[in-house]
Every structure is written in C-alpha cells, then in structure tokens.
C-alpha cells in the first residue's frame, strides 16, 4: 500500500473514531427526525456508511496503483510449505571487488 494510502487510512481511523464518540454524538442527540428517521440513528448510520465508502475509495484506489505483490503465504495444498531458504548471512561474503 502506498504511503499516501497508509496516511489516508490513519486519518480515516482518527476521524471516524472522533465522529462516533462524544461530543459529536451529543450534537446529534436531538428529538428531531430526518426523512422520518430519528436524527441520532440517522447520524450514526450515515457516518458508518461514509466510513465504508471512504475505505472502498482508499483501498481500491491503491490497488490500481499497486497490484498485489506475491506475498508469502502458505500454499493451500502442500501440508508442508516451503521453508525460507535458511542461510547464515555472515557465511557468504559479497563477491564484489
């Protein structure tokens, strides 16, 4: 994931955590209804939905720019996945002059 997407995600987390807590909740704790839905309900579900939409934008956007690298993962079939080739790093001095 690109640096920019990572930053967007952290910002999104902070903003979502703030929006879903006091004092924002108190601001929307009113005896009104919006489109027939009580304001508090409306606000909570709206924020939730917007967070999901923004997540889609950030995650899928970053996918376009950076296709999935082949991550190390346990092969599904092989009960014994290949171990990393072990080598003591000190054993092989570099060949460069």
């Amino acid at each position: 994931m690109r640096q920019q997407s990572r930053e967007s995600i952290v910002i999104l987390f902070v903003v979502a955590a703030l929006a879903l807590n006091y004092p924002f909740l108190e601001m929307f704790d009113r005896a009104w209804a919006l489109l027939g839905v009580p304001l508090l309900y409306f606000y909570l579900y709206l924020v939730w939905f917007v967070v999901i939409v923004l997540l889609i934008v950030v995650v899928e956007h970053s996918e376009i720019h950076e296709p999935d690298r082949p991550e190390p993962s346990a092969p599904v079939t092989d009960p014994l996945p290949a171990p990393e080739v072990p080598a003591r790093t000190g054993d092989a001095p570099p060949e460069s002059p």
Partner: protein, 906 residues
C-alpha cells in the same frame, strides 16, 4: 403448519447441508483446489463475529436501550480500518512461525513461554465457556418459541424436560460430531480447517439473508416503511426515549469503552483469531476484507432498530421477550416459512460460533495445558509411545466434547441468570486482556516475558474481580453484599467502584482498571527485567517481521548435536511417519541433502513443524529433550547476532565503497580520455604553429640568402626582396602575437579591463583604422550604426580587435572592385547585434563551426592560398564569449557570408 417434526427435520436438514459443504470444502482442499482461497469467503468467515448474540440479542438490546448495541459493530469497523497495519503483521508472523492459536502467539512472542501459553488458555476457557452456553440457550429459546406457532407467546422455561428429549441437547451432540469430524481430521502443521471455513462462510451468508428478510417483512409488511415505524414509536414516550442517547447505560464513557472492547475482542477472541489469522489463506485477502467486512456488519444491522421498535409496538403486552422479536414478529405476521428461516439463521449464527470456538479452545487446551503437563509429569510414558498423533487427536476430540457439553450443562442448570446474559460482554473484556501483550509486543521490542506475565495475570485478576465475581453475585451465587458493600464491608474494594471510582459504567470501570494494571505491569515488568536469549530473538523477529527477509534467527539457538534419525523419530511420533518423511524429503529437496548429523538449521526446521502440531512452547521442550548440548547463553547469541549484523553492515559498506569506486574510475576514465584528446590537440596545435611559423621564415631566409649571395643586385630588385622580407616578418610577428593571445586567453592569464564604453564609437574607430585596407582592395563599406551611443561593459582593446578582425576578414574574402561589406548594429530585446556581411564566395554550411577552430582555414579552389593565420576567429570567439556574447556565421556558398556578434545589453 409448523410442528416439532418439521422444525427438527428442518434443523437436521440444515445441519446436513453444512456437513455436505464442509465435506466438499475438505475434499477440494485435499485435491489442491481450495474453494475458500478468495477474499469473499474470507470476509464471510470473519462474520463468525456475529453470533446468536447478534442475531437475536442486538434487537433485544436495542429494544431496551436504543443505540447501545451499535458500538459492538462500530468497534470492528474501526479495527477493520487498521487491518493493514495490525492484522497483516499478525498474519505474517503466524505464517512464518507456524502459530496455531492465540495462546501460541503470545507464548511465541515472549520466548516460547509455556507458562504464558497456559495462562492465556485458562483465561480463554474461563472467559468463553459461558459465551458458548448463551449460544445454546438461543437455540433452545428460539426452538421453544417457534414450536408454539400459531400461538405467539414465550413458553415457560422448563428445566424438567429430560435432556434426551431436549432438542438443544441433540443440536449439541450434532455439533460435537461436526466439530470432531471437521475440526480434528488429522494433526496438521498449519492447523487449518478448510471445510469448516466453507461451512461458516455459508452460515454467515444464510444468517445475513434471514435477518434482512425479517427486517424487510417487519418494516414494509407489518408497517409502512421505516419512517412509519419511527413515527408510531415517537408517539409513545417510552419508545421515543429510545431514540435519544440518555437510554444508553454508562453514557458516553460506556459507549467508548464498549467500542474499545469490541475492537479488541474482534481480534483476540479465540474464534476470531482462528478465522482472521490461522485460516487466512493469503495476506492479499485482507485488503478486500478491510471494507467488505464493515459492509457486512452494516447490512446485518440495518434493520435492527425498525425490528426492535416494531416489536415493542406490536408486542405491547410483553408476550414475547425482546430477545426473540426477530423470531416472534414473522410468527405474528403469520409467515411460518419465514419464521423457520429465521430459526435456521439463528441456528447458523450459534453453530458457527460454537464450532470454531471449541475447535480453537481444544487445540489450545491440548497444546498449551495437557501436553505440557504430560511432558512434565510423565515423560517416560510419553516417550514409550510410538505414535503420539493419535493421542493428540484424542485429547482434542475429548476437549471439544467436554467444552460443548459443559456449555450445555451451564445453560441447563444455571439457566436464566444475569451471569449468562452478560457473558457476551464479559468474555469480550476477557479477550481484551490479550491486547496489551500482543499489540505492544508487535511494536515494542523491549517487552519481555516477565512483563507479559505480570501484566496479563494482574489484568486477568482485575477482570475477574470487577466483572466476573459481581456477575456471579448478581446471579445469587455469592452474597450480594459483595457488590453493595464490598468484600467484608470494605467500601474501597467494592468491585464496581474500585478505590472509590464510582461514577463509571461497570464495563468502563473494568476496562479502565484491567488495562491500567495490564499495560502498567507489562511496561514496568519489561523495563525492570533482563530478557534471555530466546526472548530477545523472538521479540526482534516479531517486531521486524515486515522488514526482514529471512527468519532464521532462532536457529542460532540450537548449537548441540543430534542424529537426523532421532529428529525424524520425534517428528514421526507427533505427525505420523508419512507426514514426517514427506517433511524430511521436502527439506532434502530444498537444501540438496539431509545430513546424518543434524545441523542447527534442520533442528530449527523440525522445531517449527512440531510447533505447528503441538505449539511453540511444547515443541521447544521436545526438541531440547533430544538435542545434546547446552543452549547458548544470551551473550553468545548476542555475539553471534552482533557478528552477523556487523558482517552484514560491513558487506553493505563494502558494496557501497565498490560502487563509489566504480563511479570514480568511470570518471577517471573519462577525464583520461579528455586529457588524451587535449594532448592530441596540443600536438596538432604545435605542429600547425610550427608549420605556420616556418612558411614566412623560409621565405625570409630564402630572400636574405639571395641578397647575401648577390651583393651587386640592382636596387629595384633588392628593394622588392627587402619588401617581401619585411612583409613576411610582419606576418610572423602577427602570428606570434596571436598565438600568445590565444595562449593567454586559454590559460586565463589575460587581464581584462572591463569598463563602460560606447560600442558605436568603438566600431567607428575600428572602421577608421581599417579604412586603408578597404581602400587598397577597392571594397566599399556601408555602415548602419544608428545615431545613438550604445553603452556596454567591455574591454575596449579586445572588442576593437574582434571588429577589426571581422572587417579585415570580410575585405580579404571580397572580390576586388565589386566587393561590398555591410556593417550593421541594431538593438534586439535584450542584446546588441552586430552584423558584418560581405559578398564573397560564402562558406559551406559544414564549415560554419569549423572556422572557429584554431588554424582552421577554408581551403578551396576559389580562395587559393589561405590568407590568414587561422587564429583570428577563435580569438574573437573567446573574447565575445568572455563578454557573455555569441558569435556565429550565416552563409551559403556563392551568397556571401554574414558574421554576427551578439552582446548582452547592460
């Protein structure tokens, strides 16, 4: 019509379908064509988070306290936002270290500590068991409500029914069979259960569809859309209150702590850890789950509030418990098919939770409690057994059966109590105790075993004291005075108001105190203790997991010698001979051969395989029991690590040096080439100069010799010869002067005398001093110099030299009589432009650049013998360039030539 037989047949058919799916999933996995290896199945399997507690309980909670149920789903949504940072790291570590459970994870991080693994297991079992029984209770309650149809009323709960006639007991038995069949097929080194994951994914989809269908029926068929539900509810004051925040118990603080708890529980409940981490097929699937899973939660919660309020509006007399609104409403709407579907949806939610929770728990109990005890208590008996994989499977199967049966008994004999109802959140709080050792351990290398032990145990004690014991007191098992007045009347120790902190919601209170001691114990304990070698190695491997390519650090820890055959025997006893020989073949393939005397690498490889089967801590004990030779001390390990880091650092520097060297030698090579070129040019220059000097010198000498040999030559002849000698001497002098000028300019030794001067006047002077030349050659000169002084900064003598040079060149190449030279001075935007045009033979385009090179002269048939020294133009160019100007020629053969000088304005 719904009868018992229909319902039971439906439930059994549904379970049969699950068996089919699980079987198919396992078959596909065995043949290598996994059906769960895609992000959608992964996301659906995460929805195991939504248990029967969600399916029925969310509505119950909403009917009693409005939005209070939401933090339980907002927390995981927030956690999903952070998946890429936290979950990916955990998954990577788990894959590399073959970790199979949350107990194993904590133990591995803190130096493969058996004690920590055991402690985590105990916390989990104590915290989760009641949670399993509420799932069974949900099945029982929904069944007994549904069988009343067409009547819609809560039946009196009867504990007197014999258990063999109890449907819940039957369901529990089916679940035991299911979990044993698909959860403990064989001892695997990765501990993954594809069939179960497939079944759970199906169940997640099923419960989502069932819940949304109920929501649609209630909202649009019983009522006239959501706004109708809310409008009707708003007219009743007790329901209107549910639309405000004040009904949420604990207020904003309670809300916050509930959000935190569910964030942590979402990661660290054993079943969540199992599906999120252990069953993860591919890290890339996490990416999709980041937004898809919150979307699932959003969808399944969309109709909770309309159903809750609708239920309160319809069941005004309280004939149906709010927890059963989801089932009661379709029954009230006379839709038995939908009611059956809802029952099966609730069954899905409950069974998937029970399946994975018990499989995860039994693995932990087997690996982290029973095996270590057996290893310690009776190692000789264990050593006598040829094949331990059967024993391991047996322990796990018994574990699953015991766990489900305990859950059943708990529900049946303890039944309707506060402790059971609150067990969901209480187990969330228990799971949250793993957050500090895991999350801090992921990022802080210094966190060590003693800190984790102190933090976890004290967090657990505080959790038990502030949540579990009061819950028991409220259920009447211990004296209620314990909560009211504190133990033995000590006010300060009241479990809901520890040290007088009495204004908090019980959960917030417990979260505060348990996290305080947990994090505090971890940090202080870590700061005060000295981690040993294996702790340091594990810590650095966990923290640097995403940065490091290789993970072989702890192979350094094995220095002893052991026969490969012994390692093989050990592995075969736990995995069975077939898997063990596959593993060793695999190793031999990877590494070329399998040495008779096992090296540290092979020992480590075996340890990791064993860790997959029996947990990291036990694996370490088993290996160290056969590896002869001391375990390295911390100093030795650190020395080895240090040495290798030093070597790495050293080689990195070497590489850098050699890169620098390469760059430098490339530069040197280039400089050398340049020098050689200059050398060649200098040689050429010298040979040209000497050649040019010799020509006049030869003629001077020849004529002087003639004069010397013929003293009586006639006067006319003599003066002609002398004239030639003088002219050639002048030419010689001019040449030498120019060479000197050139050398001075080239070496920068020339002194420039820059001052403000009038370029127009300067040109006029130059014209005057060349007028004789024009006259001699009969060439006309046209000047267009304008009528204003042109002030520039420059060296008077040098610029004069340039102009004289250009003018005399022009005259030289003009035909006699018809020759015409035009001199034009004009202003451009930011510079002065001087043009000297002649009507001579012109210069071919390929010569335009060359004529500014030293000693280059245009030699062609028309021009005949070169007339200049070949230094005039190069010198002019140097001078103009020194004035930040430009000089070039525009010409074509037969069209005359124009030399253009441009000088910047001041």
């Amino acid at each position: 019509m719904l009868g018992d037989s229909v319902i039971i047949a439906g439930a059994l058919a549904y379970m049969g379908l699950l068996f089919g799916i699980a079987y198919y999933g396992d078959r596909r996995a065995d043949t290598g064509r996994s059906i769960i290896a895609n992000p959608y199945i992964y996301t659906l399997s995460l929805a195991i988070y939504c248990t029967a507690w969600t399916f029925y309980g969310s509505v119950g909670l909403a009917a009693a306290s409005g939005v209070d149920f939401l933090p339980i789903y907002l927390g995981p949504t927030l956690m999903a936002v952070l998946f890429w940072f936290i979950l990916r790291r955990i998954v990577r570590i788990t894959k590399v270290h073959r970790i199979t459970s949350i107990a194993d994870f904590v133990a591995s991080r803190y130096g493969k500590s058996g004690l920590l693994a055991g402690m985590v297991t105990v916390i989990v079992v104590l915290g989760i068991l009641p949670y399993i029984s509420i799932q069974l209770k949900a099945i029982a309650t929904s069944f007994s409500l549904l069988r009343q149809y067409p009547a819609v009323a809560m039946p009196a709960f009867s504990a007197h029914q014999p258990f063999w006639a109890d449907t819940t007991f039957l369901v529990a038995l089916v679940l035991i069979i299911f979990a044993i069949l698909f959860g403990t097929r064989h001892i695997d080194t990765t501990e993954r259960h594809e069939g179960m994951v497939a079944a759970v994914a199906f169940e997640s989809l099923f419960k989502l569809v069932a819940f949304i269908l109920v929501g649609i029926v209630v909202t649009f068929s019983l009522f006239d859309g959501p706004s109708d539900v809310f409008r009707q509810a708003a007219q009743r004051p007790e329901l209107a209150a549910l639309m405000r925040f004040e009904v949420v118990p604990g207020g904003y603080g309670g809300w916050l702590s509930l959000t935190f708890l569910s964030m942590m529980a979402f990661l660290f409940l054993p079943r969540q850890f199992q599906v999120l981490v252990v069953e993860n097929v591919n890290e890339a699937h996490i990416r999709k789950a980041i937004w898809l899973f919150p979307l699932y939660l959003f969808a399944i919660n969309l109709f909770v509030l309309p159903i809750a309020l609708g239920g309160r509006l319809i069941f005004t007399g309280g004939e149906v418990d709010a927890d059963m609104f989801v089932l009661g409403l379709p029954m009230a709407a006379h839709q038995p098919d939908l009611a059956l579907l809802v029952f099966l949806g609730g069954l899905s939610a409950a069974t998937s939770m029970i399946l994975f929770e018990t499989v995860a728990l039994s693995t932990m109990v087997c690996n982290d409690v029973v095996m270590p005890i057996l290893l310690r208590v009776n190692p000789r008996w264990l050593a006598g057994l040829p094949d331990l994989s059967g024993l391991l499977l047996g322990i796990r199967r018994v574990g699953i059966a015991v766990m489900i049966l305990l859950g059943y008994l708990y529900f049946r004999f303890i039944g309707e109590t506060y402790a059971l109802a609150a067990s969901g959140l209480i187990s969330f709080a228990a799971a949250a105790q793993f957050a500090p050792p895991i999350l801090i351990g992921l990022y802080w290398k210094r966190a060590c075993r003693r800190g984790a032990l102190i933090g976890l145990s004290s967090g657990f004690l505080v959790w038990g004291y502030t949540l579990l014991l009061p819950a028991m007191a409220r259920s009447g098992w211990i004296s209620a005075g314990f909560v009211e007045q504190g133990p033995l009347g000590w006010e300060l120790l009241k479990p809901y108001a520890l040290f007088g902190l009495k204004d908090m919601d019980p959960y917030m209170h417990s979260v505060f105190w348990s996290m305080l001691v947990n994090v505090g114990g971890l940090v202080i304990g870590s700061m005060l203790s000295r981690p040993d070698a294996i702790e340091q190695v594990q810590a650095s491997q966990f923290v640097n997991i995403l940065e490091r390519e290789r993970h072989d650090g702890d192979s350094l820890l094995w220095r002893g010698m052991v026969d490969t055959a012994e390692l093989y025997d050990l592995l075969a006893r736990f995995l069975g001979p077939q898997r063990a020989s596959e593993a060793f073949d695999h190793y031999a393939q990877e590494n070329g051969d399998c040495p008779l005397q096992a090296d540290p690498r092979l020992i480590h490889y075996t340890e990791r395989l064993l860790a997959g089967a029996i947990g990291a801590a036990s694996a370490r004990v088993m290996i160290s029991s056969i590896v002869m030779g001391e375990v390295l001390s911390i100093e030795e390990v650190m020395t080895i690590l240090d040495e290798s880091t030093q070597v790495i650092e050293y080689s990195r520097r070497l590489e850098q040096k050699s890169r620098e060297l390469e760059a430098a030698s490339a530069e040197l090579r280039e400089a050398n080439n340049r020098l050689r070129e200059l050398d060649r040019l200098k040689d050429e220059f010298i040979s040209t100069v000497t050649h040019e000097l010799r020509t006049p010198l030869t003629s001077i000498r020849a004529f002087s010799e003639i004069l010397l040999a013929n003293p009586d030559m006639d006067v006319e002849q003599r003066s002609k010869f002398l004239g030639i000698i003088v002219k050639e001497s002048e030419r010689l002098t001019r040449l030498i002067n120019q060479v000197l000028d050139m050398a001075k300019i080239d070496s920068g030794r020339i002194e420039w005398c820059i001052e403000d001067l009038d370029l127009r006047a300067l040109i006029q002077n130059a014209i005057n001093s060349t007028s004789q030349l024009f006259h001699d050659q009969a060439v006309t000169l046209c000047e267009e110099l304008g009528d204003r002084p042109v002030i520039i900064a420059g060296d008077h003598d040098r610029l004069t030299q340039v102009i004289i040079n250009l003018l005399s060149n022009a005259v030289k190449f003009c035909p006699r009589q018809t020759g015409q030279v035009t001199l034009r001075l004009r202003a451009l935007a930011d510079r002065w432009r001087l043009e000297v045009r002649d009507n001579g033979p012109g210069i071919a385009p390929d010569q335009h650049k060359l004529i500014f090179e030293k000693f280059h002269q245009v030699n062609d048939a028309h021009a005949g013998k070169p007339k200049g020294t070949g230094l005039g133009l190069p010198i002019s160019q140097k001078i103009v360039e020194h004035h930040n100007g430009r000089i070039w020629v525009e010409s074509a053969v037969g069209q005359g030539a124009t030399f253009i000088v441009e000088l910047p304005m001041q």
